[in-house]
Symmetry: C2
């Protein structure tokens, strides 16, 4: 078998069974091999950033890396922004990037670029195969690298001749290490901080916001009075009725500072010390008191559940009941569409076991409190701040969990970055309800312009932050890509559309004028 086939068989054998693809000429032997080998689901994406964003959600939902297939340096470049988000979500992925044949690179053909350089900016592991005999072994190493806890970006660059030349059989894949247990000293330090008589806070991220870890943290909080909070943007939070009602650290600097005001000890589980998304004149970078002691109980790569179990034991909270939310959702609202009525509709109608993908930006900041008592669901967010991942995440979540409803809560400006994802939803008949918050502006930037002190913007600044003139028509955009859609302008109509979209299978888009 040729190198390409040895790689496909290695991937499938190593548990990498989905390929989010956007291939080109240099990847044709790999495409042909995918065609011959069973076991790999190929999901065509019409832009590479859809592929990488989908791979991110796939990892968040399955815990195993998917793969992408990208066309040389520019194809990789197109997917880089969502690799940034994927990195910040601490997901794993195996990128397969085609390259010119080894002997062809010296000629600097038009599509030649520094692929390793481009990959290096966003990858934990990069390798260019040097011969067909190496491809399978390199592929196995890529899978192992991608699977390192908590998840890594492995980029394997595949020169065309290493794909088409006779290679070896598939290579065995070394299992990734389990997440490391934290040192006893870390548990001790956290326990000491809690016992110090101050105002300790436990900040949770990565696996720390999953059901098991959050319940343990809640036991500790109930027993000791320590406060618990999730990080600002979560990769995957398990929430809803019967789970811990975990708030997140607010995004705006002032809100975050208010949330951490007066804390004396900050205990980190699966996250790092919180820092403002952006610097602002005369505001601090760090989102906690300068004199608070920071204790890392578990890094994102370490076993958060084990660490919290041991901490709970040490503070005598193992038997304490966690604080869990009773079922209960807001009534269906009437009248105007506002962030509050939108949140009430979504929370009231949330399908059982849904996966919510939240790239709501400004519109969605207040959604959380409404849905604490909704049916259990997962909540996925943009972790790296590179907008344009919401729709791709919805693709990946739906591919990963075909039996669950995906609810995509999507701001319009960020949705436009990767609207091609809608086509993949239609092609793959993915079970996604997309809600577009059509405020027709980069609304967050209007706040930010005021934040930086530019109070009364003129026409030119206004135009640079507005999506009007002309208004985007998301119903037409969706139809253009084969996704049924409707537009609503009242809470009642939104509720009707959302309920109806939730009952059916397959993609549906609701443009919510707000």
């Amino acid at each position: 078998m040729n190198g390409a086939e040895s790689l496909v068989r290695t991937l499938v054998g190593g548990g990498v069974t989905v390929s989010f693809t956007n291939p080109g000429t240099s990847e044709m032997h790999f495409v042909a091999a995918l065609d011959r080998v069973d076991g790999m689901r190929c999901v065509l994406c019409l832009h590479e950033n859809v592929a990488t964003g989908a791979a991110d959600a796939y990892y968040r939902m399955t815990g195993t890396p998917g793969s992408t297939l990208l066309h040389l340096g520019p194809g990789l470049a197109n997917g880089l922004a969502n690799l940034h988000n994927l990195k910040r979500a601490r997901s794993g992925v195996v990128n397969i990037v085609g390259e010119h044949a080894t002997y062809h690179r010296q000629y600097d053909a038009p599509l030649t670029s520094d692929i390793e350089g481009i990959a290096g900016s966003m990858s934990h592991w990069v390798k260019t195969s040097v011969s067909a005999a190496d491809v399978a072994v390199d592929g196995a190493a890529a899978i192992t690298a991608a699977s390192q806890p908590p998840g890594q970006i492995a980029t394997l660059i595949l020169p065309a001749d290493t794909a088409w030349t006779e290679g070896t059989g598939p290579a065995p894949v070394e299992a990734a290490a389990a997440p490391a247990k934290v040192a006893e000293a870390a548990v001790e330090a956290a326990a000491k901080a809690i016992a110090a008589g101050g105002r300790p806070m436990i900040l949770l991220g990565t696996d720390g916001v999953r059901e098991k870890a959050a319940a343990l943290a809640s036991r500790i909080a109930e027993k000791t009075g320590a406060r618990i909070l999730g990080q600002t943007s979560v990769a995957r939070m398990e929430r809803g009725a019967g789970r811990v009602p975990l708030e997140r650290l607010p995004y705006p600097v002032d809100g975050a500072l208010a949330a951490t005001k007066g804390i004396t000890h900050l205990i980190l589980v699966g996250t790092t010390a919180p820092v403002a998304f952006f610097a602002y004149p005369n505001k601090p970078s760090l989102l906690y008191p300068a004199d608070a002691e920071v204790i890392t109980l578990a890094t994102p790569a370490e076993d958060a559940v084990d660490a919290l179990e041991r901490l709970a034991e040490r503070v005598g909270a193992s038997k304490t009941a966690p604080k869990l939310t009773a079922p209960g959702v807001p009534d269906l609202p009437k009248g105007a569409l506002t962030p509050e009525t939108i949140a009430a509709v979504v929370s009231h109608l949330m399908p059982e076991n849904a996966i919510v993908v939240d790239e709501s930006v400004t519109t969605g900041r207040g959604f959380f409190p409404y849905s604490f008592g909704a049916p259990q669901h997962d909540w996925l967010q943009l972790t790296g701040g590179a907008i344009g991942e919401g729709l791709p995440l919805a693709v990946g979540a739906a591919v990963a969990c075909p039996d669950r409803k995906v609810v995509s809560l999507q701001a319009d400006g960020s949705g436009m970055y990767s609207l091609q994802a809608l086509w993949t939803m239609a092609r793959e008949k993915l079970d996604v309800v997309v809600c577009i918050w059509a405020n027709r502006a980069y609304a967050i930037l209007k706040h930010e312009l005021a934040n930086v002190g530019a109070e009364n913007p003129g026409r030119k600044a206004h135009d640079m932050l507005s999506l009007g003139d002309p208004d985007l028509d998301w119903v037409s955009l969706a139809r253009g890509m084969g996704v049924e859609a409707t537009r609503v302008d009242t809470a009642e109509r939104f509720a009707d559309a959302f309920a109806s979209a939730s009952r059916r299978k397959g993609p549906f888009l609701i443009e919510v004028l707000c």
Copy 2:
């Protein structure tokens, strides 16, 4: 004035008067400065690859660099693929990329990335300003760098605090050097090659395919019997009735080899020795005979017109008449839409002084012969092979030349990469007729799959190269972004739609089912 304003004033003073923008929080002071300072046209793009592709065409049409405004590493990453194309077109641009405040970077906020690393993969000049006092001088240096012949990519990274802190006044911009004159030895070598009694060919690229250079090359060809040819993908070719009917080296390897078969000397003007876009098993990389002598008369950075004038003089061709095309276009065809009838319609109805942006890929390979005798026009192509630049190029060409009609010849698969450009056409009321060749496939890849020996692809490979199921509906996509559109399925209807779109001002899209 703050650093941001000193930079905007430096840019405007240095002749950089357009900004293709997609700003974020870290660029808000720059946005506020753009708002305060006159002289900079701000063109909002809903994806960064639209901004960089537009900047490419802007340079091709004006010869002066425009600027882009991009949001940190991911914003730059999103625009990287068209920077690759821009680099291969040898265009110039000043990228302004926002960055976290200098003191904020140490905290590794979610949007932190290695911006210099990302920029370095596609830039000739990269600098991060270290203080507000440096910003104006750095901006001036960026303009000078971008203006170096034949055009360079200069990326200035602007930490937010260098933008908002009090800076200097604007800095003066050092004029870029004129293109260097070639050494006499190069002219001598070319003349000797022509006189050697073999079969010399002059291959033209960059400025070598503009009117003046092509006419000089034609004089030499008419006088000496040397053949002349344009490079495969041209940044900007001036053509039409009364100009030299310059063919281009074919894209397929076999066609290219046939075109250069038997040549003994290859004289390069504004280009490099031709190489296959991709390697294929058992086909050569170089697209000319192994024993041909390669002579560089002028590199892309050197003065092609001067070099050809001197060569013409030396071979006694200065007074020889160039071979120019007489006016004449094909009749309007009837019936089915084929590459030939499409080409006939476009050529017959080509508006006077149009700018044609050609990302036709497979559908458009045969267009050239039909339009040699059309009214004079410029022909812009994808130079770097990173598909998704056609629509952005149309934006930039229309911004650069508001009094000329832009005709965008666009394949559907590549159009989908950057369809957000349609919105900017609507917002800016750009005078563009977009023709989408809706073959609903990555048709080129179907050929390529066969080329690499994968003859009878199965369902999975077919699906990865098809844009059907569901079909894209470009009329809806255009309407979704505020661009009027129609769909045609016969040559007559295409002609009607094209004629009507050509008569009106503003953007119009025609989906051509083929």
